[in-house]
């Protein structure tokens, strides 16, 4: 530890700390532009000048490491003049168009100039002219004239994200930040440069000219687009959310977002949003619809008993809302048929749930099925940060497709679709076969996997001191292997991060719903068997989500009263007796639980549109109709006593059961492989339209050649008389014999077929885009 004095305050910090960070710890503000702790020192802008005793010149606080006994002054004549000088330099070629600049009022150039800068400009010469409002891509605009060349954006994309899509072009005062030949940046993380830009050079295209700092309000919120649960700031204006920014949390998050989370806020105003009620697919006044649902409820309860009403929780509801629905279902209706909408069957008990700290601390990270870049993007950045840190880490994957990327080095053991559990189980029994839990797996030898790969996997699983696993939940049996793995590894940390949706499933579980996939399945089977008279889904679109679309369809057709509450019109409105509009994130206060089992609270920025309202108002209305008291239990608190903002432990233990040998299907077709894409998770966004994959399916170059597809094409996938059409792209990373179709895309519903072998044929017609 190093002791030093800054402005007469003493502080002790770790060796290698920069003066700027030491000062920040003391709450002393040193102005910076180019410096960002996540990016490391650069020393380009020279804004952070400080005086250091015994140094002849002013030093830059961002590049000068602390030394024992150092005495630093962050103000004084020389420092003040130095800062003033730098600000004046930054302003000479700055267009000073603050009145029309979106950053006006929240700009570091303005703020520092106000605090430290010259009162008046002395520059009378012509300014250099550069590009204004040039595109970085569909979402990010660049005004090169406002740019102070701090390089944060370029370094972020290049060094931090590993997708070098911005560049410094030219030299000296002519230098600009740009993309090559105007080719749009495609990175999932491009929007972060808006937050990183200290001035108004990089701006949000959809937010451009939409608000001024003095007539907007920012609220602390949470992104619900995927289970990462990034912390955000939401800007509301005139009843709409018009901007989402990242919100750093000290020692936990830098505040990065993916473009999905940053720009996808317009779902709230999407034309498919439910803002009015429907009765039998016809628009109807909210009060009447609600009342009608109440009548059904009371009739069903009277005629068939409370247990013939089933409730499925899903979507973007808060924990508190789920708790209210749960309380209503339990106490007012009195049903025990409660479930969470699931799109994958896997489950991780709370005890095994890891946190992001387990990514930072792990020596081995295992990806089972999931491609973090696509499914849980900001976790991809965490993995990258981990991989770039000085401590070595192994990142392995067991998946039916190659999960390595230019920006992340992943050693993938490629399995057949549905073979992951067997491969993992067998690897486990090679190294720790004598452990009772491992024995219980009764794993059999997988076909088509090289012995040395299995040995390497087995060794990695056995030798790791801290193993962190990301799992997509696609194959239920993996849960058994992971439970055995954790058991067999004993004291050594084994932590699992479940990456599936709905993003708040763990919160629904906390509210009392069962996340057990079988519970949902038997609920649907009961419905199909005519045992359920009324099915109420909250936030869930089962037809799109549940892995077996046919079961859902048959079930819905059999249930006399199906009630849908949600943000958007359901996949097949005609199947629903009533549709009720939901109030969504940003419109209600509440808590969400992310894949770390961490509780994150959000403050609303706007009121719900149209007739949409908090779920509680429906519940209250129905309680009235039933003539029963409904105690909403408003001070219910999802937090526990001793786990801080992590969910308390719920006593559910990890289960191990014997694995069934996988059914790898017939040899003639291809294997259907799937996975979540955060960009296409069923939540509509007009802004993100350009990013939505037009050819979301993926096949290997070899298969493309066999099928006669060059670059992109359309294929038909068939199985057991059912079929879907999928526009596909040729992807080098695909293994021959596999075809990838993303999970939950309305245009190519993979749950119509289910995983396993499918027949694939090329269709001549080219899909319209």
């Amino acid at each position: 530890m190093i002791r030093l004095t800054i402005d007469d305050q003493e502080i002790e910090v770790r060796e290698g700390t920069m003066i700027a960070d030491a000062a920040a710890r003391l709450g002393i503000d040193i102005p910076v532009y180019c410096y960002h702790e996540a990016l490391g020192p650069l020393g380009a802008c020279r804004m952070c000048l400080v005086g250091v005793e015994k140094m002849p010149k002013l030093a830059t606080a961002c590049t000068t490491a602390v030394q024992d006994g150092m005495v630093v002054h962050t103000y004084g004549e020389a420092v003040d003049k130095g800062r003033k000088g730098v600000l004046e330099f930054l302003l000479i070629n700055h267009p000073l168009d603050c009145p029309v600049c979106d950053k006006g009022g929240e700009c570091f150039l303005q703020d520092y100039t106000f605090q430290y800068g010259p009162p008046k400009g002395r520059f009378k010469e012509p300014k250099i002219q550069k590009v204004k409002d040039g595109p970085i891509n569909e979402f990010v605009l660049i005004d090169q004239e406002r740019c102070v060349l701090c390089q944060r954006c370029v370094r972020f994309m290049d060094e931090y994200v590993g997708e070098p899509q911005l560049l410094l072009d030219g030299r000296g005062v002519e230098t600009v930040v740009t993309t090559v030949d105007g080719v749009p940046a495609t990175s999932q993380f491009s929007g972060n440069v808006i937050d990183l830009c200290p001035v108004g050079a990089l701006l949000s295209a959809p937010y451009q000219h939409k608000g001024r700092p003095w007539n907007i309000e920012r609220q602390e919120s949470v992104c619900t687009m995927c289970p990462v649960g990034c912390t955000t700031l939401a800007t509301g204006r005139d009843g709409h959310i018009v901007r989402i920014e990242g919100r750093p949390v000290p020692d936990r998050s830098w505040g990065w977002l993916c473009d999905r989370g940053r720009f996808g806020y317009d779902y709230a105003t999407d034309p498919t949003r439910l803002t009015i009620s429907f009765l039998h697919a016809n628009p109807e006044a909210a009060a009447r619809t609600t009342r009608q649902v109440g009548h059904w409820m009371s009739d069903v309860m009277r005629d068939a008993g409370p247990d013939s009403i089933a409730v499925v929780m899903g979507g973007l509801h808060t924990v508190e809302e789920a708790h209210q629905v749960h309380a209503f279902a339990k106490n007012v209706i009195g049903t025990s048929r409660l479930s969470i909408s699931r799109d994958v069957p896997g489950y991780v008990p709370r005890v095994l749930n890891g946190t992001y700290a387990d990514i930072a601390d792990a020596d081995t990270i295992l990806l089972v099925g999931v491609d973090p870049y696509e499914a849980v993007p900001v976790v991809h950045l965490k993995l990258r940060e981990r991989q770039k840190s000085k401590r070595p880490v192994k990142i392995l994957a067991v998946a039916p497709r190659d999960l390595s990327r230019d920006s992340l080095d992943v050693n993938t053991l490629i399995t057949h679709a549905g073979q992951e559990a067997q491969v993992l189980g067998w690897a486990l029994s090679q190294g720790m076969g004598t452990h009772p839990a491992v024995k219980k797996l009764a794993a059999t030898a997988p076909v088509g996997v090289a012995d040395e790969d299995l040995t390497a996997l087995s060794e990695a699983l056995g030798s790791s001191e801290h193993l962190t696993i990301l799992w997509d939940g696609l194959q239920n049996e993996v849960g058994s292997v992971l439970a055995a793995l954790a058991d067999a590894r004993g004291e050594k940390a084994t932590r699992i991060l479940p990456t599936w949706g709905p993003s708040n499933w763990r919160g629904f579980e906390r509210a009392g719903f069962s996340a057990d996939f079988d519970a949902l399945t038997s609920l649907l089977e009961d419905a199909r068997a005519g045992k359920i008279q009324m099915l109420m889904t909250f936030g869930a679109d089962l037809l799109r989500e549940y892995p077996d679309e046919r079961l859902v369809r048959e079930a819905l057709q059999k249930v006399p009263h199906v009630v849908f509450e949600g943000l958007f019109r359901p996949t097949e409105p005609s199947l629903y007796g009533a549709q009720l509009p939901q109030a969504g994130p940003g419109e209600v206060a509440g808590t969400y639980v992310n894949m770390e089992a961490r509780l994150l609270s959000a403050t609303p920025s706007v009121t719900p549109p149209g007739q949409a309202r908090p779920v509680k108002s429906y519940l209250t209305a129905w309680a009235h109709a039933l003539n029963k008291p409904f105690v909403a239990d408003d001070d219910w608190d999802p937090y526990g006593d001793d786990t801080a903002d992590l969910l308390p432990f719920d006593g559910i233990q990890a289960k191990v059961w014997a694995l069934k040998p996988p059914n790898l299907g017939n040899a003639s077709g291809m294997e259907l492989v799937t996975g979540a894409l955060v960009i296409e998770n069923g939540i509509p966004s007009h802004i993100l339209e350009p990013r939505a994959p037009k050819f979301p399916g993926r096949i290997s170059p070899q298969d493309a050649e066999i099928l006669g597809i060059v670059g992109q094409g359309l294929v038909r996938l068939g199985k057991d008389g059912r079929e879907i059409r999928v526009p596909v792209t040729v992807d080098e990373r695909m293994t021959p014999g596999r075809i990838f179709v993303p999970l939950g895309m309305a245009s190519c519903p993979v749950n119509r077929l289910g995983l396993g072998a499918v027949e694939v044929a090329r269709l001549e017609e080219v899909p319209t885009t």
């Binding site: 070098p164 410094l168 030299r171 090559v180």
Partner: protein, 156 residues
């Protein structure tokens, strides 16, 4: 793109202990062949070097001798460094501009000449000095500036 570029790239990558160091030599070599570095060429170089196009573009744009616009058959650099200025390089440049009917930084419409300023060329003993396709010429008396244009020069 010419197939030999790939061969060159492999050669140069092998020549240097760190393959990245082959980038500038490759750009030089291809520029000598093509005259300038179009965006297609930079793209190709990126591909050959296993680098991103962004990276290559950023590097190329830093150096004044990598031409990212077409240049004339003869590129005339007039040194405007202080010593050459003292010896009359302004006048040399002025005469050449008059003669060619273009300004510094431009290329004649027939593609024969490009006229550029050079910072001190480290040949002040020859002031005022110029380079034609990087071959030194000097001292150049302003009255004889035009002779520079007919100078036979080897292809750089």
């Amino acid at each position: 793109m010419k197939p030999e570029y790939q061969v060159w790239a492999e050669e140069l990558k092998k020549e240097f202990p760190n393959a990245n160091s082959a980038l500038m030599p490759l750009l030089h070599r291809i520029q000598t062949e093509e005259g300038w570095l179009s965006s297609e060429v930079l793209d190709e170089v990126a591909h050959l070097m296993g680098l991103s196009t962004q990276y290559v573009e950023s590097v190329a744009s830093f150096y004044s001798l990598f031409y990212q616009r077409p240049v004339g058959k003869k590129v005339v650099h007039v040194c405007v460094g202080l010593s050459c200025m003292l010896a009359g390089s302004d006048e040399v440049m002025h005469r050449l501009e008059q003669k060619l009917g273009i300004s510094e930084g431009e290329t004649t419409p027939d593609g024969a000449f490009t006229l550029l300023e050079a910072e001190c060329l480290a040949a002040c003993d020859l002031a005022p000095v110029a380079q034609v396709n990087l071959r030194f010429q000097g001292p150049i008396h302003p009255d004889e500036a035009e002779a520079l244009l007919s100078e036979e020069v080897s292809k750089q």
